[in-house]
Structures are given as C-alpha cells and as structure tokens.
C-alpha cells in the first residue's frame, strides 16, 4: 500500500509493473532533459545582451523540428511495446471473475469447483490495531504466486474499476460487459487497491486486496471452502 507522503509508485509486484516503472523513469528523464534545456535557454535569453545581427533563423528551425520529433519517437517506441505486451494472450493458469457491486466486490473462482465470495471493506470501528484503515477487507483475493492469473471484470449495477497499483492492474467494471486483464504476482505478499471509478456514496470504501501465496497454500485454501 502507499505511505502517507509517498510520491513515487508502490514497489512493483508483477513483471508488467516493473516495465511500467522503467518506462516512467525513461519518460521522466526525457521530461527532465527538456525542462533543463528550456530553463537554460531562458537564463541565457534573460542574461545576455541582445546582439543578433540577422533575422535568419534556418539553423534553429532545423533544430526545433528534428529534436521534438526525436523526443516523440523515443517516447512512443517503448510505450507501444509495453502496450502490446500488456495485451498479449498469455495462457492463464487461473481465471477468476471480479464483479463490482455497490459497494463491495464479488469474486468467483469457477475453474474447477464453484467458489464464490463477497469482499467487503472492514469498517474502521472493527479494524484491529495496526491494520490499514479503509484498505482491509474481510475476504481477500487469494492467488498462487508466479502463476499467470486472468481476471474477468464486470459490474452488477454501476461502473466500478478493479485496480491494484502494485500489480500494474486497472480495469473498468462495466455492467453488461466482460473486460479481461492479466497479471503475474512475482512474489508472495498482500497487495492493496481501491475502486477506481466513481460509483456512489461508498465509492471510497470498497477496496481490493490480493494475497499471493505459494501454490500449496492456495490449493489448501481453495480446498477448505465448502462446495
């Protein structure tokens, strides 16, 4: 989860999120270069004597045509690469459904047995000491680590959005429509997210918690559910 004064991303817990973070660093570096250049030129303009003797501007026109085009290409190529990578069909090991309601999520694991449960936020009055306010839920989404998980997201009433920033996942939940997203949790852990599409009074109070655990623990958990 994010800290109070956090500026950057949460630690990446999936390969896609690592790629996104690298791209963000790359784009930020480009932005830094442009800003420094602009600041430098501004300083030079304001401190030097105006001494140009010609109105000929051919060289600078060349520079400020080619340089922005290069910047755009340098940004577009990694961006498109990640975009197509995120969209690839990846033969998931596990498929689960996330259904948004006002104001809770329902998760369905129906690959082998029928496993369905609701996931409500733990109200602050019931929150044990040391737990995260407005982020904890009663039933977490348990997934096996290092396994390709496909999530099919939809909604029952109004628009919601299923988002877990640490896994690099955000998918809108639209009534009457199935949206697919995929992730791979690279390490065991607990990952928090919040509903990311305004959906009424308790939009801020329907979080998502994904818990990734070794496969043995996942199988143990799913076999304990009464069918």
């Amino acid at each position: 989860m994010a800290n109070h004064s956090q500026l950057g991303f949460q630690d990446a817990s999936s390969p896609i999120m690592e790629e996104l973070m690298q791209f963000h660093d790359h784009a930020l570096m480009v932005a830094l270069a442009i800003c420094s250049l602009v600041l430098y030129i501004l300083t030079v303009m304001l401190t030097e004597k105006l001494s140009s003797s010609s109105v000929d501007a051919q060289e600078i026109e060349l520079v400020w045509t080619i340089l922005p085009a290069v910047v755009l290409i340098v940004l577009a190529l990694p961006s498109l690469r990640i975009l197509y990578m995120m969209d690839e069909i990846n033969e998931p090991d596990l498929t689960l459904k996330a259904i948004g309601h006002q104001w809770y999520w329902t998760y369905e694991y129906t690959d082998l047995k029928e496993l369905t449960f609701d996931s409500y936020m733990v109200p602050t009055s019931d929150l044990p000491l040391g737990h995260f306010r407005l982020l904890e839920v009663d039933h977490r989404v348990i997934v096996p680590m290092n396994s390709k998980v496909r999530v099919i997201v939809t909604a029952d009433d109004v628009l919601h959005s299923w988002a877990v920033p640490s896994l690099g996942v955000k998918t809108d939940a639209i009534p009457g429509r199935l949206n697919q997203t995929a992730f791979l949790a690279s390490r065991p852990g607990v990952y928090y997210g919040q509903c990311s599409e305004i959906c009424g009074a308790n939009h801020s109070f329907m979080p998502i918690v994904v818990e990734s655990t070794p496969l043995a623990n996942f199988e143990n958990w799913s076999s304990l559910i009464p069918s």
């Binding site: 051919q58 045509t65 080619i66 085009a69 690469r81 197509y84 990578m85 690839e88 069909i89």
Partner: protein, 79 residues
C-alpha cells in the same frame, strides 16, 4: 507558402519529412485496420463475421512482443 528558393526548401525537408512519416503511418495503420482487422466486415453477404474465421495461431495484432504465435499450441475443441 512554399519557398521555391533552393536554400530555403532544404531547411524545410525535415519538417516535410517528419510530418509525412507521421501522417503516413497514421493513414497506413488505419488502412491496415480497415482491410485486415478481423473485426471489420466490408462484404455483408459473403463475409459477414470475419472474427469467426480466426485460428488460434493467427496473429492479428501489429506487434507480438513475447508470444510466438506460429508455434502456439492451443488444445481446444474444434467445432
């Protein structure tokens, strides 16, 4: 205004070049989508639902980063 003088038109080459590359690739990609995308049906009589004709090893996207579509094994029932 298009400058005909030699020295000036040379300076405009990068501008024309980048704009044509950009606009050209946009138009070409649009044409690719219109003609080759399985979601587009031009002939409602002879090819009404082209998306039903895809095989599991078809790559209909422009780029494939890590999926080897030709060698993709898909066991699914054939209807």
């Amino acid at each position: 205004v298009f400058f005909i003088s030699l020295s000036l038109s040379l300076q405009l080459v990068p501008l024309i070049g980048f704009i044509s590359v950009g606009l050209g690739s946009a138009v070409l990609y649009l044409l690719r989508l219109a003609l080759y995308s399985p979601d587009v049906s031009w002939d409602r009589k002879n090819n009404p639902e082209p998306w039903n004709k895809l095989s599991p090893t078809d790559q209909y996207k422009f780029l494939a980063i890590s999926t080897d579509y030709k060698n993709l094994k898909k066991d699914r029932p054939s209807f």
